[in-house]
Symmetry: C2
Subunit: 330 residues, 2 copies
């Protein structure tokens, strides 16, 4: 007889927007079919429920912040942990979990929503919306005529779940998309892909720079003041990655000086942006409070579908596609 | 020997953003080939040049505001006038021109740019950008998680150059597009098209209402407070038509009360929005100063290409596709 796997789902206490409910679990099991055999699930949102489940749980599905808060913790049967986020930079260097416990992210859950949001942000840069909302704040009627994005160039740093989806959407509108990644591997939506070391060579031709890379020791602070200064004056910046991949002060300086045309940012350092922070007063900037990629209707169903695909791989003795390389950071 | 046609181009005095230059004219002639035979062109931007040209001009290409300012005017040879705008509502009832002079618009010049802008505005409504920029004005970090637009419903009023292009872009992202037009004729991007009289039946199911119709006696004030009250609370409004197609005060009331989620407007009544007008203080609203559809790179080249297509039809004795029906108003 096959051994039953104990999967524990720990929701944050008081989570109302995105809880993984038994109903969502049952629906995902039904979609997963054979991959969902021989499972026992438990659910908790408190300390006692977590401690009790860790006595026997083989697999844990939970929030990044729960992993950070609750581990190290005795969990003698635990084999892998799936975090319900794509970017796990907050857990680096990941040593709260024993080395034999595999760590997974939910990369793949965000593609549709992030692609739409990124396309919107690129169109907002092209249509000078950051400048127009700054004029609106000051009751100024200031017509600025903007060119179509067809034929313009988007440089997209990071071609994973988020960046790849944005690249595809931009290409559909006739944009020339140049990718940038650690590997420099080709991508179907990009006319070319440069490695991170060669980003400087493509920035002078960019109409918009989109940041969608994971935050790792290599990408922290990657977009320096010097790199930003290579952008043409009419270009703008979109950030859907993490606030600390860019020199945020340099960006604010350039937006205030009109040295670049605008920015649409979903991520900041720190978050939430504190009262009185210069970001609130920076012109030519649209602030989105870290909501770009999370669709409340589909986030957990897609996360659970990704869980079951990884479970099937694990049971077959294969590499799980969402396993995080702890050394690489994603 | 074929008779040479005198085409006069009157640029507004001091026009710097969008002048039709002899160079643009020559490029368009080259693209037009045979359709550009037997032509003589003149250019002016002042009163004397206009008066001199009207002595012999067969055709005039000029701005809507120039037609309004300069006619009635003696023009014994004048056969048709092409205005470099799609919406000619400012000229209604068109009686400054003799009845035998045909009037043309440049419908077709705006499709690409308006489609991109409309798609951007629809995505901004879906992602609650109007509410987020209102929060930003007040230094408030207020996360709102938004659903993907795939599967959501856009109701688009007006399926001409602008609305048809927006419909196509929305359908490409998987939206359900319902059209509304005077005729109710089917449209390839719409799952159905209702007539104006039946707009009320589709508004309760709309996630976003896009206004892109011509301003005519029938559409002036068409979007009443009563129609707006049929929208669900989470819906938003995009207006790329004319400010006076909608009850602007009702819209401001509903935005202020949170009765609808937001609006992205490119057109207003009046324009420019005067200092102190309530629009400047209305929350959940993004103001774009009537710039949505005009791409400075392509506007005049496309307008001249449309001119030559109409010229070819006229010389062949056919109906010119851009001729305005003075009774209908577009």
């Amino acid at each position: 007889m096959a051994q039953t796997l104990h999967v524990h789902i720990q929701n944050p206490s008081g989570e109302t927007q995105f809880p993984i409910t038994p109903a969502l679990w049952d629906e995902a099991k039904a979609r997963a079919g054979e991959a969902a055999r021989d499972l026992r699930a438990s659910f908790a949102d408190d300390d006692a429920g977590f401690a009790a489940a860790m006595g026997t749980a083989d697999v844990l599905i939970t929030w990044t912040k729960e992993i950070k808060a609750r581990f190290p913790h005795p969990a003698p049967s635990l084999k892998w942990v799936m975090a319900t986020s794509a970017g796990l930079d907050r857990l680096a260097p990941f040593d709260m979990l024993p080395a034999h416990v595999k760590l997974l992210n939910n990369s793949g859950a965000h593609a549709v929503k992030a692609g739409e949001w990124g396309l919107m942000a690129v169109l907002m840069i092209a249509n000078r919306i950051p400048t127009l909302v700054t004029a609106q704040r000051e009751s100024r009627w200031q017509p600025i005529f903007a060119r179509s994005v067809a034929g313009r160039t988007a440089v997209i740093v990071g071609l994973g779940d988020l960046g790849g989806s944005i690249a595809a959407r931009c290409a559909e509108l006739g944009m020339t998309v140049i990718g940038c990644s650690a590997s420099g591997r080709t991508h179907p939506a990009c006319v070319r892909v440069v490695t991170s070391e060669n980003l400087d060579t493509v920035l002078p031709g960019a109409d918009v720079l989109v940041l969608a890379m994971p935050l790792t020791p290599k990408t922290r602070g990657m977009i320096t003041r010097g790199l930003l200064s290579l952008l043409p004056m009419h270009a703008g910046v979109v950030n859907i990655a993490r606030g600390s991949v860019i020199d945020q002060d340099a960006l604010c300086d350039m937006l205030s000086a009109g040295r670049i045309s605008g920015a649409v940012l979903d991520v900041f350092d720190p978050e939430p942006i504190p009262p009185g922070h210069r970001l609130w007063r920076t012109p030519n900037l649209v602030i989105s409070p870290h909501v770009s990629s999370d669709d409340p209707d589909t986030y957990n169903p897609r996360t659970l579908d990704i869980f079951f695909r990884n479970l099937a791989a694990w049971r077959a003795g294969e590499q799980m596609p969402n396993e995080v390389d702890r050394a690489r950071g994603y």
